[in-house]
Amino acid sequence: MNWKLLFNPFGIYSEKQLLVSGILITVAGSLLGSWLNVTFDGVLDVHQYETDFLTSLKENGINVACIFIVLFILGKVINRKTRAVDILNTSMVSRIPQYLSAVLTALPLLKSIGDEIISHQGDLQHLNFQPVDLLLLFAISMILLALTAYYIALLVNGFRTSVNAKKWQHFAGFAVALIIAEIISKLLISL
């Protein structure tokens, strides 16, 4: 298996290939979100919620823009040669795992478990789950966690390639930037 292709496509493909792929991925992700009724209401968020294509596209546009702006500013601080197109490609292409997460998030099992918890609010001792449901919930949670880790790994590798980041301070800055992007995107999407 080509691990470099899987974890750092930004080191292999040209900016034009990544830009076209990034735009297509964003549109396809928004279509998937509207089709499955999954909302991307933050840079790191994927939740079940009724939505339509334009809302989904707007959310993904805000998410991409937020990551792009904070990482580009940080990138310019670290290395003045950082190019906008490389950070933009990182912001768009890295989101593939988020769109894959939408498929799992839309599973009816998660909705029924969510409904069960909501119906027993304040009375959680009487929650009634089947062992198979709990096992499936655990498995889905693990896959979702792995997809989030994959998303962050792609972002880190894209950022590292775009900026030539090497020092621990660069990666600490990246972590802070990602939190800032999450907060800003949540605020903008909720408006």
Partner: protein, 94 residues
């Protein structure tokens, strides 16, 4: 891309890893030898891969984009290699 011959010029001491110096040169035609203590030129202090990188940069008319294309890598990856090499050479010079 340009490829070197199989023989590699050692640039660091295999024992203590310090930079090696030239102590003898020989004419392959008349067997005359010159002894002394000469520093390796800056270019030769670089690793074989780094020398190859610089030569390929020259042969592609100084285009990092062209080098990236030939190597099947992205532009920022190639530019990062170049920046790392510039940093290394600047360290040598200081």
């Amino acid at each position: 891309m340009y490829k070197y011959s199989a023989m590699k010029l050692p640039i660091v001491c295999p024992s203590c890893e310090s930079a090696l110096q030239v102590s003898q040169m020989k004419c392959s035609h008349c067997e005359t030898t010159v002894n002394g203590n000469y520093e390796l030129p800056l270019y030769l202090q670089l690793s074989r891969e780094e020398q190859e990188f610089i030569l390929n940069f020259f042969l592609s008319s100084g285009s990092i984009k062209e080098m990236a294309k030939q190597a099947g890598l992205s532009y920022p990856t190639m530019r990062n290699k170049m920046d790392d090499l510039i940093g290394k050479i600047e360290n040598f010079k200081n």
